[in-house]
């Protein structure tokens, strides 16, 4: 055996290896063919030897010759021999030769099945890899069928090297043996999320190739691919996925979406693709069509409007009986009516488009068309003649529209048609015909509100007809017209609809009276037409503002002084109370009225806000109302504190949070009120603290309602007290801080038109009423007569609570004296301390110990010198001003705890010796801790 090996390697020394062969061929340029044929002879000899190394060398040379175009199929069996060598070196050469030379009709392939299976399950991953690579080139349907299972197992191999090869070869297997797809697919899909990027990209490749052949079957994978597309950083994979997604038609959608974004900044460049976008309307995917519609809306111009609408109308015809058609209809109207019909150059065209749209059966948007008809006919005077003629035709052919009266939404257009014909009846060519059309018995099947309009406008038409008939010679014609009305109207008088009935009976009586006069040959036409004289003009939504309030009219003065019960009561005890409390009793009296007034005003505002027909109040209109004479006599202040002002813009979810908070606060409401009153009395809060120990300890409970800062401009006549009265927060969406600001008027003049504004910082923002800009102020909803104070609540959103916040702000207001009024400004700073975000939370000593042990907390400490107060006062002070609670106290040492609204724990260990106090503190948020300690230090430096 040993000899054999030695002999083999000696033989090899004389054999040509691949390099020799290549060199030889290059040296025999002239007689290449002859040289190669001798080489092939040598190779044949080599193949006859037992030595596998020699054989492998021969096979390697053959592979090279095969590439040069020589036939080597005769050596197929030798290739299989080399493939089945146990040595990787030779096996690799064998598989390479096989992958180059074998094809489906090579018969020895049948012999390889078992060998390949053995290699696939080899413990050496490179054996497996070589086998897979080779197989991918020469796999036949038979091999695919026999080996599918083995390969499927390899897809879950521990080595990603094997997994990726197995995944890739699966594609070849599917092609040769499609039945294998179904069982293998779940595993393949799983590989899309393989942790190894190589395997993942292989899976993407395979699925993309499969999906390209039949995209529909792979649509369910779209979300997965979408995820990959957004998360993958591998460009190779991304290109494949985008290719695939384009098979799903999603790319078209994305393209349209992108265009709509571009449209906003570069309308020209999108408009040039108009035809392309119109083509998308033909797409079978509805979402693409709708996207295209959206895009068209933004790209119309005066030039292309008609063309685009024409194309859309074609689509309307095609889309019969779908909801998409309704969408088209609304879009057409949207497109045409946008920016006050900016793009319409020819309204006759638009009216005809609307009339064409009425032919759509079963649309839900009749009222939309109707409102457009009305709008155009009223606002575009020049079009009325044309519009009236069109509407008259519509009324004449009403039976065409109302095939199925009640359910058919399109009959709404008759509402518009009847009104237009009636109102502008002077333009009618044949009013008599239209009148008859409006009084047809079939009208009674229309919905009530439409009948009502019919009846009313029949009367208008009647007056027009009378006018024309009375002018002419035949006096009987006018009487016949009256008779027609009298004959037809009773049908409507019997209507079940109240409105129709009322109008019909009213008009019927009128016509009967007219008939009587006619019989006496009195000319009535003039007087009848007077009933409907005058033109109805469109009114802009804000027109009301332009109407000046007549002089001497006070909209808020009582028309009738309300009966005052107290008056009679006052009569009797006057003798007793007159000297002592005249002021008090009167002020209370007015207060009742004021409260009532305020309440009613609130209610009215609420009602107006909910009424869409009401023009919303704006600051400017308020000014008008405030400047009206007599307003000074009405004290408009002191909204009772138990009726909290509505805080606008508080998100719903927070409302729930607030409920719990409110429930707890209710119990302390009385105490709070007391406290507030006290504060109002103070001129300035700076330096003013609840100093006495017992009182402050009492006040600890509602402690998270504490002054943040109070500032005052000395020469100013107004004091502002701010305090946080309600804090809510969670980590997710920042915190809401409700700040109650007390406005106190110190001067002798009325203050009004107060506008409160702050400069928003990145972290803290004032919540402004909906619809106002980021720099708009908050209009203080009350005025301040001399000496009066009132409170307004403002909501701030605060992102991070670990830092104190200072917000600059200004309050502008008008000081109104007897003879003049001055505009004044007051600058202030709102100071949100970190302390104000702490909530007094009780903590038991064992829980406290656990918290300290947890090791999650950062440490910090501070020393206070020359603190001259008893220890319990000191603790009470920290408790009161900084919202801590005492956990445990032993002699001159105490542990304290508090929690922020975002759940940060703050622990303090306070020790005192003589006049020095040291505070060791721990918190899971070092910045917050530092700031809280600074604030504590400041508290004690002030005393």
């Amino acid at each position: 055996m040993a000899l054999k090996i030695v002999k083999g390697s000696i033989d090899r020394m004389f054999d040509k290896n691949l390099q020799d062969l290549v060199r030889g061929i290059r040296n025999h340029k002239e007689d290449e063919a002859k040289y190669i044929s001798t080489c092939i002879d040598e190779i044949k000899q080599e193949l006859k030897q037992d030595n596998i190394a020699v054989k492998a060398n021969a096979v390697c040379k053959l592979t090279y010759l095969q590439m040069l175009g020589y036939d080597v199929s005769w050596a197929a069996f030798n290739i299989v021999e080399v493939m089945s060598s146990s040595k990787f070196t030779y096996k690799r050469i064998g598989y390479l030769a096989a992958s180059q030379c074998f094809h489906e009709s090579t018969d020895v392939i049948m012999l390889t099945t078992n060998q390949i299976r053995k290699d696939l399950s080899s413990p050496n991953q490179y054996d497996t890899g070589v086998a897979l690579t080779g197989l991918s080139c020469f796999v036949t349907p038979d091999l695919a069928r026999d080996l599918a299972n083995d390969i499927m197992t390899l897809m879950s191999h521990t080595k990603p090297y094997i997994r990726k090869k197995a995944v890739l070869i699966m594609y070849k297997v599917f092609l040769k043996y499609p039945e294998s797809l179904r069982p293998a697919f779940p595993r393949l899909k799983e590989k899309l999320e393989d942790p190894d990027p190589g395997v993942q990209s292989a899976a993407v490749n395979v699925i993309c190739e499969l999906a390209r052949r039949n995209p529909k079957n792979y649509l369910s994978l779209a979300p997965l691919f979408f995820k990959l597309m957004t998360s993958s950083t591998n460009n190779w994979v991304l290109i494949k996925i985008i290719k695939l997604v384009s098979c799903f038609c999603v790319v078209k959608y994305l393209g349209l979406l992108a265009m709509s974004k571009i449209l906003k900044t570069h309308p020209k460049s999108v408009q040039s693709h108009k035809d392309l976008i119109l083509q998308c309307l033909d797409d079978k995917d509805e979402s693409i069509r709708l996207r295209a519609l959206d895009l068209l809306y933004g790209m119309v111009s005066k030039k292309n409007l008609m063309e685009i609408v024409k194309k859309l109308m074609l689509h309307v015809d095609k889309a019969e009986g779908t909801t998409y058609r309704d969408e088209l209809l609304t879009k057409i109207i949207d497109i045409c009516s946008q920016s006050n019909y900016q793009y319409i150059t020819n309204f006759e065209w638009y009216i005809s488009i609307l009339v064409e749209l009425t032919r759509l059966e079963g649309t839900r948007h009749g009222h939309l068309i109707a409102s457009q008809m009305l709008d155009v006919a009223i606002r575009v005077k020049a079009i009325r003649i044309f519009a009236v003629a069109q509407m008259a035709t519509l009324l004449d052919n009403a039976h065409l529209l109302t095939g199925n009266m009640q359910r058919n939404g399109i009959c709404e257009v008759l509402y518009a048609a009847a009104w237009i014909c009636g109102e502008f009846s002077e333009h009618l060519e044949n009013p008599m015909q239209t009148l008859e059309a409006m009084l047809r018995p079939k009208v009674a099947t229309l919905p009530g509100h439409i009948q009502a309009v019919y009846v009313q406008n029949a009367a208008k038409l009647f007056s027009t007809v009378l006018k024309s008939q009375e002018g002419s010679t035949e006096g009987t014609a006018a009487q016949e017209t009256s008779q027609l009305m009298i004959d037809r109207l009773p049908l409507f008088v019997q209507s079940a609809n109240l409105e129709v009935q009322e109008r019909a009976s009213c008009i019927l009586q009128l016509v009967k009276y007219i008939q009587k006069l006619q019989q006496k040959e009195v000319e009535v036409a003039e007087e009848v037409s007077a009933l409907f004289a005058g033109e109805l003009n469109p009114v802009a939504p804000k027109a009301q503002k332009k109407v000046p309030v007549p002089e001497g009219l006070d909209l808020d003065a009582w028309i009738n002084e309300p009966p005052s019960e107290s008056e009679s009561e006052d009569e009797q005890p006057k003798a007793i109370f007159a000297k002592e409390e005249p002021k008090h009793s009167r002020s209370r009296h007015t207060e009742v009225d004021e409260k009532e007034l305020a309440r009613r005003r609130e209610a009215r505002k609420q009602e107006q806000a909910n009424n869409p027909f009401y023009i919303k109040a704006s600051p400017s209109s308020q000014k008008v109302y405030q400047e009206s004479p007599g307003v000074e006599h009405i004290p408009v202040v002191q909204i009772d504190l138990t009726v909290p002002l509505k805080v606008p813009g508080l998100p719903m979810s927070d409302q729930y949070l607030k409920l719990e908070e409110e429930r707890r606060q209710k119990e302390r409401a009385d105490k709070k009120k007391k406290e507030k009153k006290k504060r109002k009395e103070k001129r300035s809060g700076r330096g003013r603290r609840h100093d006495s120990g017992p009182e402050s300890e009492e006040d600890i409970t509602p402690a998270h309602m504490v002054d943040i800062v109070t500032e005052e401009m000395p020469e100013m006549c107004l004091t502002l007290n701010h305090k946080v009265c309600d804090i809510q927060g969670n980590l997710q969406d920042g915190s809401q801080v409700v700040v109650s600001v007390i406005f106190e008027n110190k001067c002798d003049s009325l203050l009004k038109s107060m506008e409160f504004n702050v400069l928003d910082s990145l972290n803290s923002k004032l919540q402004r009423p909906e619809g106002s800009g980021p720099h708009d102020g908050f209009t203080v909803p009350f005025q301040l007569p001399p000496g009066v104070s009132n409170e307004a609540r403002l909501v701030f959103t605060v992102q991070s609570i670990v830092m104190p916040q200072k917000m600059k702000g200004t309050l502008t207001f008008i000081v109104k004296n007897e003879d003049s009024s001055i505009h004044e400004k007051l600058d202030f700073k709102l100071h949100f301390t970190c302390t104000s975000y702490l909530i007094t939370t009780p903590c038991y000593s064992d829980a406290f110990a656990k918290l300290l042990e947890s090791g999650d907390l950062k440490c910090s400490s501070v020393r206070l010198e020359e603190v001259n107060m008893p220890f319990h006062h000191l603790l009470a002070r920290i408790c009161f001003h900084h919202h801590f609670s005492v956990v445990e106290r032993i002699d001159s040492c105490a542990s304290m705890y508090s929690r922020s609204i975002q759940g940060h724990h703050v622990c303090l260990l306070v020790k005192t010796s003589g006049q020095t106090v040291s505070i060791d503190a721990k918190c899971d948020e070092p910045t917050l801790l530092g700031n809280v300690l600074d604030e504590i230090k400041q508290t004690f430096s002030q005393c």
């Binding site: 490179y126 090297y161 890739l168």
Partner: protein
């Protein structure tokens, strides 16, 4: 990808890899035709051309043409990237590769290609992992050779 060819400016085939089984005769004809077409093209002409029902993507590196045939729906640019990545791999493996490297070590070139592409699809986009697989198998070979000796 249907197949990949490497041929010299003189029209000598240096490497061929067919990813779909094709009869020997057809292969020869296709290679001959394609070489003629590609070699006749001027340097400034486009790297893509349509040929029969296939798209041909080729690129010349020194004296060697790398030429791939892909299906119509395939992306030409990514194919060009595949070619380039293959050249990079050869370059890394042989150390500034030249035509002769491929002539004399043609089986190595095949092994690299097989680690990079399989069944006409990209197997691994990472150069590192491809080269690592080659190195490992080379080590394995050396190990066996030593065992032989």
């Amino acid at each position: 990808m249907r197949f990949m060819l490497l041929f010299s400016r003189q029209g000598k085939l240096r490497l061929q890899k067919w990813y779909t089984a094709t009869a020997e005769r057809d292969k020869k004809k296709m290679v001959r035709d394609l070489m003629q077409i590609v070699l006749a093209r001027k340097p400034k002409m486009c790297s893509f051309l349509e040929w029969r029902d296939l798209k041909i993507v080729y690129k010349r590196y020194a004296s060697l043409y790398f030429c791939c045939a892909v299906e119509e729906q395939d992306n030409e640019l990514i194919t060009l990237e595949v070619i380039h990545r293959f050249v990079e791999l050869l370059d890394k493996y042989f150390g500034s590769v030249c035509e002769l490297d491929i002539i004399f070590n043609f089986e190595k070139a095949y092994f690299i290609l097989d680690e990079f592409l399989m069944g006409g699809e990209i197997q691994d986009t990472s150069k590192k992992s491809v080269l690592k697989a080659i190195e490992q198998s080379d080590l394995l070979r050396i190990y066996f050779n030593k065992a032989d000796a």
